[in-house]
């Protein structure tokens, strides 16, 4: 393997090295001080994230099975940042006694999924893509069942693995049809041999449905709420942000690169599914009491907005989606970070428990408010810019009706986000959550999220950079 090959696929290679190092650490680390592995893993991923930003050659590898480009590197870097935040947020939770034995497994599995996502994003061939997506999913199922003595956690794990097996089956079935009609699995060749025959359309529909499971697009969303509720909070936040982001990225790349011929077909598909996803996600979120379920449904509706971004197949669409995922990472991890902090300190996860939170824990309440406003798309935080660009991208191709439905949906979402704000600021409580001090990692992660929520909006350079790296159909 030459140096340039190494540089082209440095994300994957470095992450693999990181997995090995964590494994070694598990063996050789002083069993009395296992907490150190958390710090060790965070530093490893931090270094990899930084290296990811350094300039490096790009291009295809292995005869085009693996492709690295500026856009894909950017996507990987964004996912790395998100994963790093999740790592930092997990430290406090991993300190608990029941998790003491399993610290290195946690990081091992998470880094493995990250490798899978990176391969998936860099795929130039459906097999690599498929291997990547499996590697990105299966370890997560193990993690969802991390608290294996808690019934709900075990249930979440088994649900996730069954659903992802089913969706992989559907996905593979679609791919087999595509292979059968075109005789190849290379992205570029499929794109040129695609002729819009009905069998190929059927293959596309199966492929899309398989992806819809991963992104939890309505009507393939039913597993989401149960898994999100049952899994440990950190895994939930990882699932809802990183896994979803990665799946969105690769779906977008494949639609743009492999299926430009049938753009009219997938525009119709996206049109219907994005309306359903936004509306149903929002309507179900209103009724949730458990904050994890609440954020699960909110993240379903967010996926609907994201689909709306690339429906036009335009460059602006890709830019706005990448940008929105970045914003969404900060916002959703901000919200989940607060939920984690409170869940760690008190074990409370219901909206009613948050009554009067501002009077006891003003800092956490403010960050939660910022994050929720960002999710709802209220200025001056980044979510406003993100949503604005998504809608602009759709409007550029004339999807005004869809934009109107989407903005009306943001009003519904504002309603339930405000319910949480109301609980924290306005409602009175006999037994509010007592004042507590978060430890350093929690504060650090929340601080980064808050800074990200502010800075990514105003700093137009970020959007411009993403825009320059994006491409259209």
């Amino acid at each position: 393997m030459s140096l340039s090959t190494f540089l082209i696929m440095r994300h994957e290679i470095l992450l693999t090295v990181a997995v090995l190092l964590v494994l070694m650490a598990e063996i050789f680390w002083n069993p009395e001080k296992k907490q150190g592995i958390s710090l060790f893993s965070i530093i490893l991923l931090g270094v990899i994230t930084v290296i990811g930003f350094l300039p490096a050659p790009t291009g295809p590898l292995f005869g085009g099975m693996y492709i690295s480009s500026g856009t894909r590197l950017l996507m990987k870097n964004i996912l790395n940042i998100g994963a790093l935040l999740v790592f930092i947020q997990s430290v406090t939770w991993l300190k608990k006694e029941e998790n003491y034995e399993k610290v290195s497994e946690y990081f091992l599995l998470l880094i493995s999924t990250l490798i899978g996502m990176n391969f998936m994003i860099s795929a130039g061939h459906f097999l690599i893509f498929y291997i990547g997506i499996e590697l990105a999913t299966i370890p997560i199922a193990a993690l969802a069942a991390y608290d294996r003595y808690r019934n709900k956690s075990a249930e979440a794990g088994i649900k996730l693995i069954l659903m992802s097996a089913l969706s992989s089956g559907v996905l593979l079935y679609g791919l087999s049809m595509i292979y059968g009609t075109t005789g190849t699995m290379y992205f570029s060749e499929v794109a040129s041999l695609f002729t819009n025959s009905s069998l190929q359309i059927l293959g596309f529909i199966f492929f899309f449905s398989g992806m819809a499971f991963k992104i939890s697009i309505v009507p393939f969303h039913l597993w989401t709420a149960d898994v999100y509720e049952g899994a440990p909070v950190n895994i939930t936040s990882y699932l809802s942000v990183i896994s979803k982001g990665a799946a969105v990225f690769i779906l977008m790349i494949i639609l743009y690169k492999v299926f430009p011929v049938i753009i009219l077909t997938w525009q119709k598909t996206l049109f219907v599914t994005s309306i359903l996803t936004m509306t149903i996600g929002n309507l179900f979120a209103i009724r949730q009491q458990n904050l994890k379920r609440f954020l699960a449904f909110s993240s379903i509706s967010q996926a609907g907005y994201i689909l709306l971004g690339f429906i036009g197949g335009n460059q602006l669409g890709m830019a706005s989606v990448i940008y929105y995922v970045l914003v969404y990472i900060f916002s959703n991890l901000g919200a989940f970070g607060v939920v984690t902090a409170i869940s760690n300190a008190t074990g409370k996860e219901n909206i009613d428990d948050y009554n009067g939170l501002y009077h006891t824990n003003p800092g956490l309440s403010l960050i939660m408010t910022l994050a929720l406003f960002s999710l709802a798309g209220i200025p001056p935080v980044a979510g406003f810019f993100g949503k604005f660009f998504l809608f602009t991208a759709a409007a550029q191709k004339g999807f005004y009706l869809l934009v109107l439905i989407a903005v009306l949906n943001t009003i519904i979402s504002l309603f339930y986000y405000l319910l949480v704000v109301k609980a924290m600021f306005i409602s009175k409580s006999e037994t509010p959550i007592a004042k507590f001090n978060s430890d350093f990692p929690t504060k650090l992660a929340l601080g980064i999220c808050a800074a990200g929520i502010f800075a990514t909006g105003f700093a137009s350079v970020i959007f411009e950079m993403i825009k320059n790296l994006s491409f259209g159909v």
Binding site: L316, A319, F373, I378, P379, P380, F384, F388, F389, F391, T392, A395, Q396, Y400, V403, L404, V407, L408, T410, I411, L414, F415, L418, V421, K422, F425, I426, S460, F463, E464, K467
Partner: protein, 501 residues
């Protein structure tokens, strides 16, 4: 020097210093200093503006500053003012200044209260100085959100319900608006290569008529929701009644004007053809606002509800006059915005102060307050007289101009709706005088109210500022109307050129 950005910068700095202040008592001091500086700056701005105009500067917008923000979408941070925005900035700074003093005695979470209040003001100032639609929309939404917390936390009555209703309805309006703005943006350049959000540049382009027909209603209704356009006005009575004093003042006084200003500056100015075609629908709706609001005010017993419905009526008149699309009526509309803004802020300030003493807002539970609290009562009478359009106060100038302008249309339709709208003056007189009679005159009916303290010094500052401004416009309206008129001229020319009546 970028004098306009100071209007956003000063509130932001004030907020920062409030957050840094340790002692709770200094919060209001910092706020009042910050907003006092803002008031002085507004006066300076008016002076600079008038002297620039006097020196012969005839550019459409003055003090323009332009910074490229998002290059790929051609989004700029562009600020600039003409006579209309200068007048609105003046209004806002007066009302905010008075509002700070009217909320001098807020105890609960004082710091948070003033931060939210000034954040709200930041949004309003930003809105009036922007001439880029993106920035404008950003500030518009910024102004709506602190409202939820202000009403929800510090409000009275069914505050949670009102806060939610108000926020959702206003954000619903801004949802329509967003689609409208995107529609304008993507039609802002004939060849599609130099799309822009800049109002001045868009106004030079003729947006295709089919697009106008689609996006004019969206934009107009979007702003109209904030301007209490029937049937989207229902947030207003509940919201105003539940809000704390300063928020009612700012909301009825300034925020509702955002609706009128936006409808005029964006919807009609940029899409005049569709405005001509579709104005009849909205004229009917606004006439209903005007008359229905006035009748609604008669039926109410709660002081705040009376005033809230009266605001629906008066703000309806603003939109009504804007839709008449001639120089006189539009001039009247702008003066009405200023006049109503000051007057209704005065009303809400006084209602808040009376409520703080009597702990009731039901008019039948009070009576004879004139003898007990003469200062506040006289203020109330002055506000009432301004509201019913007594010559010498601001309301007269505004309504007179509006109706004269509206009646200039020779067609029967316009004459009929104008006559209907004029009837609101009579109804206004009924509800104003009824309240004055029951509330202030006669013997003191409730013995608990016989020894109420009159206005304190900070309340006097608030009331005197507002009364002074109302009287100043009433007594010397011409400098204001000429300042507005010269700025209206190019806009009117563009609109009237299409269709002289």
């Amino acid at each position: 020097m970028d004098i306009l950005s100071l209007f956003v910068l000063i509130p932001v700095l004030t907020i920062t210093s409030i957050l840094l202040v340790k002692d709770n008592r200094q919060v209001r001091l910092v706020s009042s200093i910050g907003m006092g500086v803002q008031l002085v700056m507004a006066a300076v701005l008016i002076f600079l503006y008038l002297s620039a105009r006097h020196a012969g500067n005839t550019a459409e917008m003055l003090f323009v500053q332009d910074h490229l923000w998002f290059k790929s979408l051609n989004i700029h941070y562009t600020v600039g003012v003409d006579g209309i925005s200068v007048a609105m900035i003046g209004l806002t700074s007066i009302v905010v200044f008075a509002g700070i003093f009217a909320s001098w005695e807020v105890e609960f979470l004082r710091k948070e209260f003033f931060v939210s209040l000034i954040l709200l003001a930041t949004g309003v100032f930003g809105f009036f100085i922007s001439i880029d639609l993106f920035t404008m929309f950003l500030f518009y939404e910024l102004a709506v959100i602190p409202m939820y917390l202000l009403i929800g936390i510090w409000g009275t009555g069914p505050k949670e319900y009102s806060a939610m209703k108000l926020t959702l309805m206003l954000m619903g309006g801004s949802a329509l608006l967003l689609v409208g703005l995107l529609g304008i943006y993507f039609n802002s350049s004939p060849d599609g290569n130099s799309l822009t959000f800049n109002i001045l540049e868009i106004s030079k382009v003729v947006i295709p008529l089919p697009a106008q027909r689609l996006f004019f209603p969206l934009t107009f209704v979007g702003f109209g929701v904030l301007g209490a356009l029937f049937p989207f006005h229902t947030w207003s009575p509940d919201g105003h009644a539940s809000a704390p004093t300063a928020v009612s003042m700012l909301h009825a006084g300034v925020l509702m004007k955002l609706g009128g200003y936006g409808a005029f500056r964006v919807a009609i100015f940029l899409m005049p053809e569709a405005a001509h075609e579709l104005s009849w629908i909205f004229i009917i709706l606004t006439s209903i606002s005007v008359v229905y609001g006035a009748f609604g005010a008669i039926a109410q017993k709660d002081l705040k509800y009376i005033n809230a419905y009266s605001s629906v009526s008066h703000c309806g008149l603003v939109l009504f006059a804007i839709l008449m699309m001639n120089q006189t009526a539009m001039n009247g509309a702008i003066i009405q915005m200023i006049s109503h803004g000051l007057m209704t802020a005065l009303f809400f300030a006084l209602i808040g102060m009376i409520y703080g003493r009597t702990h009731t807002r039901m008019i039948y539970e009070m009576g004879g307050l004139m003898k007990v609290i003469p200062f506040l009562s006289v203020g109330y009478v002055i506000a009432g007289l301004a509201s019913l359009g007594l010559p010498g106060l601001s309301g007269f100038v505004a309504e007179m101009t509006i109706f004269v302008g509206a009646f200039q249309h020779p067609e029967l339709f316009y004459r009929v709706v104008t006559i209907l709208a004029v009837s609101s003056i009579v109804i206004t007189a009924v509800y104003i005088l009824r309240v004055v009679a029951i509330l202030l005159l006669g013997p003191t009916t409730n013995e608990h109210f016989e020894h109420l303290p009159d206005a304190k010094w900070f309340e006097k500052i608030s009331v005197v500022t507002l009364i002074g401004s109302v009287a100043a416009i009433g007594l010397a309206p011409f400098w204001l109307s000429s300042m507005i008129g010269t700025s209206l001229h190019p806009i009117i020319e563009k609109i009237v050129a299409l269709n002289p009546f």
